[in-house]
């Protein structure tokens, strides 16, 4: 379980790449959600929240309900 905060010294993109290399779905979910929180358009937030949601489903991450509700609210996921 990785709950460490996003380090400022390494970009989010780089951390996401590293997590992909490690096949760490749990961390990917966390990182993509961080990306979604920083996104400046709804479309971009929904794209990143989708990524986060899928990796949450795969890793049974506790953030899955929150992400799902977010996507439903924007009409992007089945209610």
């Amino acid at each position: 379980m990785s709950h460490e905060p996003v380090l400022n010294t390494v970009s989010l993109d780089e951390q996401i790449m590293l997590a992909h290399e490690n096949h760490d779905a749990h961390r990917l979910s966390y990182l993509y959600e961080q990306g979604a929180l920083r996104a400046d358009t709804v479309d971009s937030a929904c794209f990143l929240a989708t990524q986060a949601y899928i990796f949450a489903l795969e890793s049974d991450h506790h953030n899955q309900d929150r992400l799902r509700q977010f996507l439903i609210k924007h009409g992007r996921e089945q209610g």
């Binding site: 971009s44 937030a45 794209f47 989708t50 949601y53 899928i54 990796f55 489903l57 890793s59 992007r76």
Partner: protein, 391 residues
């Protein structure tokens, strides 16, 4: 005569197999060596039946998943989140990607490695990311309820996961009623003996030869002289249930003892008869079972090609805390017996390249269980051809 032999390579002639044992012949050579006949039997004898695929203990915990290629079919053996064992086609409903490539634990959902459609361990399609464009995860034409994983009909009995790929067999309890009734006293939890109690043998023979050799006792004094010294041929009886199973029983089973006299515990509440009896059933098509007062085993025959078979062997006990040293001794003893059989099944396989071999002449007294199996096989193939599946 010669003309008939050539014909058998495309559609074999089976009427002589259907005859009573006194005049019958065994299955023609093509049923052991010809790829087209192998494919025909794959449908008639394996996919149309309740066929042994694996054991439930292969996936002990919820979420455990194991990909298995069975007769070319990519399958996924899985224990779902509620603890139920299921078998799915291991193929994504989107673009047909293989879903799981190695045995592992599914933490949450099964995510397809291609476009990440996600399936629950019950097979439901739970998400379809970006299916309606980036960040849009639904589309009016994507009906998730119609796009779950294809589930293969399955049933667990005696720890074996049986599948009926073509979904046309009678319900499991109906199809197996007679065998279940015969061994109902053994209907109790089976405890797998662990790592030393499972092994595989790779044999160069058609899977049916392993069935045929298993169900007869005629060969015991010659092939298993050690076994026969305490289990004589005349103490064996034939078991024949046409259309379902055949095998043999012994009346003089003796329990294994350690040097200090220790034995395995018995299955509870067995009747007196099982004090010294043991039975060995070949459940058609491909599962070989043995039961004794104090242990059981199962062999799943995995046909790999017309002339290659893998035998997957598992030993089971009545309790979870049997002595390890004794379990190892027992496994070694059975392994020796099963290895002694390799010489004959591989030899019979080679013998079937003799073009003038006519299927063989049965002993009306000793070969009943084999003939019973051949009649079943011939009937299933004949039925299959009659339902217009002729190539």
């Amino acid at each position: 005569m010669l003309k008939e032999r050539f014909l058998t390579m495309s559609t074999t002639v089976l009427y002589e197999v259907h005859k009573p044992i006194e005049t019958a012949k065994g299955l023609p050579n093509a049923h052991y060596i010809d790829p087209n006949t192998f494919d025909e039997e794959k449908q008639a004898l394996l996919f149309n039946q309740w066929t042994g695929l694996a054991t439930a203990q292969d996936v002990p915990e919820a979420g455990d998943a194991q990909p298995i290629t069975f007769l070319g079919l990519p399958l996924l053996l899985l224990r779902d989140k509620t603890g139920e064992v299921r078998v799915f086609q291991n193929t994504c409903r989107h673009r047909g990607m293989i879903l799981v490539t190695e045995a592992r634990k599914i933490e949450g959902a099964i995510r397809c490695p291609y476009h990440s459609w996600c399936y629950s361990t019950e097979g439901k399609l739970v998400s379809t990311p970006h299916v309606g464009g980036p960040g849009h995860n639904r589309h009016k034409d994507i009906a998730r309820e119609d796009l779950g994983l294809i589930e293969i009909r399955s049933h667990v009995w005696r720890d074996i996961v049986w599948i009926n790929v073509n979904e046309n067999a009678a319900p499991f309890e109906t199809a197996m009623a007679s065998a279940m009734e015969r061994w109902k006293e053994f209907e109790a939890p089976l405890y797998h003996g662990g790592a030393e109690s499972k092994f595989e043998l790779h044999v160069n023979c058609n899977w049916k030869l392993a069935v045929e050799n298993y169900c007869e006792s005629y060969h015991l004094p010659w092939v298993h002289p050690g076994l026969n010294s305490y289990s004589r041929l005349e103490d064996h009886y034939n078991i024949e249930k046409p259309g379902q199973y055949s095998g043999q029983g012994t009346l003089v089973y003796q329990q294994l003892k350690s040097d200090s006299g220790e034995r395995f515990p018995d299955f509870a509440n067995l009747s007196k008869k099982w004090d010294t009896s043991a039975e060995y059933l070949a459940i058609y098509p491909n599962v070989l079972l043995g039961t004794h007062r104090d242990h059981a085993f199962a062999i799943i025959l995995v046909p790999e090609s017309p002339e290659k078979t893998v035998e997957k062997i598992h030993l089971y006990y009545p309790t979870s805390d049997t002595p390890e040293a004794l379990r190892i001794k027992n496994a070694d003893q059975w392994k020796l017996v099963f290895e002694e059989d390799i010489m004959v099944v591989e030899g019979m396989q080679k013998g079937r390249h003799g073009v003038a071999f006519d299927g063989g002449k049965f002993s009306p007294v000793m070969d009943g269980p084999t003939h019973c199996f051949h009649q079943w096989a011939a009937q299933q193939v004949t039925d299959w051809r009659q339902t217009s599946h002729e190539p």
